[in-house]
Amino acid sequence: MSNEIKEVQTMKEEQLKWVGKRVKRIDGPEKVTGEQKYKTDLKFPNMVWGKVLRAKYPFAKIKSIDIAKALEHPEVICVLTHKDIPGFNGFGIVTPDQPVLCEDVVRCLGDAVALVAAETEEAAKEILELIHVDYDPLEAVTDPESAMVQGAPQLHPDGNIHSHITIQNGDIEKGFEEADYIFENTFYSPRQMHAFLETEGGWGVLEEDGSLSIHCPSQYGHRDKLQIARSLALNPERIHIYSSPNGGGFGGKDEITVQIYLALLAMNTGGRPVKLHLSREESVASGIKRHPFKVTVKTGAKKDGTLIAHKLRAVADTGAYASLGGAVVALAIEHGAGPYKIPNVDMEGFCVFTNNGIAGAFRGFGVNQVCVGIETHIDLLAEKTGLDPIEIRKKNAYCQGEKSSLGHVVTSSVGTVETLEKAEQSELWKNRDVYKAQASEPWKKRGVAVATSFHAIGMGLGTPDYGAATIELLEDGRFKVAVAIEEIGTGNGTVYAQVAAELLKCDIEDIDVIQGDTTEALDSGTISASRSTYTGGRAIATAAPKMIGLMAEAAAEILQVSADQIELSENKLHVAGEEKRAVNYKAIYEHLYEKHQPMVVEGHFYLPREKEELKNSGGAPHHFYGYMTHVVMVEVDTLTGETEVLRVVAIPDCGKVLNPQGLEGQCEGGAVMGIGYTLYEDVLMENGYNKTKSFTDYVIPTIRETPVIETIPVESNENSGPFGAKGIAEVVMIPIIPAIMAAIYDATGARIYQLPATPERVYQAMQATKKQTLTAR
């Protein structure tokens, strides 16, 4: 821990002016007036329209591509195929196995085969129709487990199993032998869509100096730059990425979306700026989704409620290309046993290629799919033993300094028990019997349930994970704080301003925050992995003392004392003990300007990590995690199976809360996204074709479905974090999933094993339960 961070740590609550306060979003006014310009809102003169020709089949050989007719269109600017790619024809964050433009084979409907640019959007659409691709369709691989079998048609040369992750600890056989109860079930999860409201799109502009500018919403502009450079054989330093703000991301803009298409087109339009903006239908068909999982879970426990063995096997449908699939499965397996200390575990996960679109990063990153197993089994155990479900969880939860199920000692902060205690004390939980008796109709039944989970923060072992920030003193005595990590809706920019204003002792309005700009801001990693508050906050906290040092030197020169006699107070530096012998920040700027001294400082740091990676785990364990408990109340219509979530109590442990309003926003949004995942959302595919095509048939929660949501944070101080903060953005949608499933059971007696819990599935589960009860008599 650096001295700067120690200083930040020791700042007392009552000394804080900005951090921990309900500071309004600094970008709020632009957003509510429509003045904020997203990348797809920009305009450039003399523009042309770009379009992408997507694959006609989910799996097919390309025999030939004929663009002759397309080139005859009067409004055509260019038609590009794989032959026009100057560099490497592939992209992908971990394994670049997705062709920019397919040459020999297409592996999913989202595959791009050609690009066109034309004078108008209508002309570009017409030109797509004039490209003739001769295909030889292949048998599509659509079931991941069949895809794993020898002899299945192969998508890639190394076979259909992209990765196989294992984590073992203790002696699983002995664990099950010693168990008094064993539960075994299989759970299925849906292909959830991010459904960000701004579809993928943006601009490619070849600048007069020959450099390339890409204006495109994204979750990691600095990495996009490298992926573009690789495909276009360009000097990355000659590519500028402007990637903020995003009209929603949730992981769906982590991978390349259209950036390379924009770059390729821009290099082929004679210098005219090119715009691409996917329709919702094209976004649904080509965009990344959440991995559907099949998870088989076996859990052993003692009569006293101690969990002693947990075995898990997950098979994930990663679609046609790797993207972050391997990492998603690795994180899922790391979290497969929940935030508990189960001495014997044996968990494995397979990431499998199919022709079902492409799956990748999505808020929760695999944990959503596996948390239902352990949480459902704890509820079964509670029922079997008559023990309280919260007590069982508290009993088995690991605390700071204890060994997790993975066998490593968790040295970072752990808030599970505290979140469970808050759940126990919550008004909803205490009065659950009263609420359950108040169903709105005689044929409706209410249930209240609890679940807890966790989610890693940062990248884990084997992946670079660093933060960087610059602070510049401006002419008017204000500061420009640059952190490349994009704004995708979370409000991280506001938190950055809070941290900077706190440390530089100025007004928050004196901080200009720059994000998502590879020219102005240093590479600080992705906006993903619940890392941006921690990373950006700590990078600023690392840079700020340098700015203070630089200003103190200047103040010492002006005031003709030694630098160690200078003290910092609100908007000024003064001689210790003599408040009136002071200079303000504007005067410091003027002094530095006259002396031609630099006025920018940098702060760099690496996120803390564990020493040893668990063999075959793909990066586990992480150094720290956010923890969370949800209590929910549902009402189920027993005639239709329709479930409504009425109340949610969200109890996060994200370390110190830097902005309560932002935290609530995350908890509320995460809860509702979790409700969508659990009850409604699934992109249905058949033989590799999308059955679900747009918002007509993909239902996300509307305002009518939003329950009453209460946020009660637990602040387990994380020593390494800025002011003690960790991260929040993903865990907020996780425990609510098993909590809703358990609440449906509490209401109806029917257990749900396949999500989403549609009315049909809930109704059928109720009928099956009824039948079982009758047969048992």
Partner: protein, 162 residues
């Protein structure tokens, strides 16, 4: 191409456009009013909501030819940075915007709604009024609160529908 007269945010404008262009495209491409967004293109998300002669419509579903001689209000006409409307201020105060892409459409719908009532709406009333506006970030909780806060402030300031 047809010459079409419109009144947008209080100003008379004359545009030349194919009458089958959507109102949304004309607002965004011809008039530089980019607050309204296209996010589904078929009236499912409400991100393109504007007011036409007092009625909130999805501007992606309305052809500009249909709006000849009408009075159109977009989010830009409701208020701008430096002179925000009570609804916009309430959204900022309550933290009811996150990525913000849906926000302009919601502001238009919410403002029209509170202008049509003379009380502080219940949660259910807000839910009914904004049922056609999708938001993927906020979970809607703070949007409900912001609409109620705006209604309360508007009533306190004289209650006159603005």
């Amino acid at each position: 191409m047809k010459e079409i007269q419109l009144k947008v945010n209080g100003e008379e404008v004359s545009i030349k456009s194919p009458p089958a262009s959507t109102l949304l495209d004309v607002l965004r491409d011809e008039l530089d009013l980019i607050g309204a967004k296209e996010c589904c293109g078929k009236g499912e998300c409400g991100s393109c909501s504007v007011e036409v002669d007092g009625e909130v419509v999805c501007s992606c579903l309305m052809l500009v030819g249909q709006t000849e001689n009408t009075n159109i209000t977009t989010v830009e006409g409701i208020g701008q940075v430096g002179g925000m409307d009570v609804m916009q201020q309430a959204f900022v105060d309550e933290g009811a915007t996150q990525c913000g892409y849906c926000t302009p459409g919601i502001i238009v719908s919410a403002k029209a709604f509170i202008n049509s009532i003379d009380h502080i709406p219940t949660d259910d009333e807000v839910k009914t009024a904004l049922g056609g506006n999708l938001c993927r970030c906020t979970g809607y909780t703070k949007i409900i609160k912001a609409v109620q806060t705006a209604a309360r402030r508007q009533l306190a300031a004289g209650g006159a529908p603005g």
